[in-house]
């Protein structure tokens, strides 16, 4: 029952476990913090399932079923987690739909953001005008940040290469 509740809690965050491998030796920890107890050591290339992300940490299930947290950046995803059967097809479907709904759009040139479509695009002054209308003033942006409890901080850029 408790496990079911935990699953339900996780469901909105991550619909499935994402297979990943470790890019270096690391430690599986009981909580997302460097001072949390070590559950088990994990070797480079170990396979895990990523379950949840929190700040710079990802909760994973190691082979054998042990769960714990590793640093997010030690994980490399396989690139097969979604659309396993190949192309998701969504791009084609949406492009067809767009071409089908508007004759005027088609007349102005090839639309879409593939390399060829970009090369053949004609400028759209009306859309540029529309974009200007959405601009936010500095005051509006500051108010927006405050309503999200975002606080500006002073942080230096990294030195070149690091």
């Amino acid at each position: 029952m408790r496990r079911l509740a935990a699953l339900l809690l996780l469901a909105p965050l991550l619909g499935f476990a994402e297979p990943a491998t470790l890019i270096r030796d690391t430690e599986l920890r009981a909580a997302p913090a460097t001072d949390a107890p070590v559950v088990a050591p994990l070797g480079v290339n170990a396979k895990v399932d990523a379950l949840e992300r929190k700040g710079g940490w990802t909760r994973v299930r190691a082979e054998g079923g042990t769960e714990g947290w590793v640093r997010m950046l030690v994980l490399r995803y396989a690139g097969t987690g979604e659309a396993k059967q190949g192309d998701s097809g969504i791009v084609q479907i949406l492009n067809v739909a767009r071409t089908g709904t508007s004759g005027t759009q088609v007349a102005t040139g090839v639309r879409g953001l593939d390399a060829e479509q970009l090369a053949n695009a004609k400028p759209n002054a009306a859309q540029l005008q529309k974009l200007q209308g959405y601009a936010a003033s500095g005051d509006a942006a500051t108010g927006f940040a405050a309503s999200g409890k975002l606080e500006a901080r002073k942080i230096d850029y990294p030195k070149v290469g690091g």
Partner: protein
């Protein structure tokens, strides 16, 4: 180095020019103009070039028809831009109605992200991370420099090929714009992208966001099927996500120092319709 190459090109062109009875002084003048034309772009012109490029992008994909979403990205983007050394640029942000996953910046502060990419994000910190990466391109004039370089080569070729060709301002502007449009399909140098990742992490954290927003988006992309056609152009024009994530390892101290800041998943979910 560029000057040297240009002079070499002119030297090669000179005998042919003499043959066709063209004044060598005139040829050298054109050469000087090429240098001048492509080395001095003030902020006003930087903005104009960027506006032209933005109009071209909008011709390829219009803005998503969602006023709340467009205002939302402008609020986030402007807030981030205020934390940088160029807060006064006419910053504009837009969500393009395209299913592909990509983001674009043009000189002078026009920045776009596709609906396809936004749909893959989990929270506002991730969106901020991507916008901050694009803002960094504008701050460091990555596109402008690449365009100038390409236009310079093109103009130098023009000098050799057809000396008589006009070298007025509109011609120059055409060349810059053509180079700019081509750039979206070709991409920037790898180092420019990695720099934008590093600066993007800092800019998002300056704005008070969880610094892991950008790396989180990169991991999401990495987990997708690389053969997905929605990723084709972005993967072609950027270093691999694995390389980008590994390069961000040098930013670990910054990332960890600002990992606990707000992600604003609820505000994001309340604005972004899937």
């Amino acid at each position: 180095m560029r000057v040297l190459a240009l002079l070499a090109a002119l030297a090669l062109a000179a005998p042919a020019a003499a043959q066709f009875n063209i004044n060598l002084n005139r040829l050298l003048d054109v050469g000087k103009n090429v240098q001048k034309a492509t080395s001095e772009v003030d902020e006003k012109e930087e903005i104009e070039i960027g506006r032209d490029m933005a109009a071209r992008l909008l011709g390829a994909a219009p803005l998503a028809a969602d006023d709340a979403l467009q205002r939302y990205v402008n609020h986030i983007g402007r807030w981030l831009a205020l934390q940088t050394e160029r807060p006064g640029l006419p910053w504009r942000f837009g969500v393009l109605d395209a299913p592909q996953l990509n983001a674009f910046a043009t000189p002078g502060g026009h920045i776009f992200v596709t609906r396809g990419l936004v749909a893959r994000m989990q929270n506002e910190a991730e969106l901020a991370g991507v916008l901050a990466h694009e803002i960094a391109h504008v701050l460091r004039k990555h596109h402008l420099k690449a365009i100038q370089k390409a236009a310079q080569l093109e103009l130098a070729n023009t000098v050799i090929g057809t000396v008589a060709r006009r070298d007025d301002a509109s011609n120059r502007r055409e060349k810059l714009l053509a180079a700019g449009s081509e750039l979206f399909a070709r991409g920037l140098d790898k180092e420019d992208e990695l720099e934008a990742d590093r600066l993007g992490v800092v800019i998002a954290a300056r704005g008070g966001y969880d610094a892991y927003g950008l790396p989180a988006v990169l991991q999401t992309l990495q987990a997708m099927n690389p053969a997905d056609s929605g990723l084709a152009l972005m993967f072609k024009t950027h270093p691999s996500t694995a390389e980008r994530l590994e390069a961000l390892g040098t930013m670990q101290p910054t990332l960890d120092a600002y990992a606990g800041l707000p992600q604003l998943a609820q505000r994001f979910a309340g604005t972004v319709r899937r």
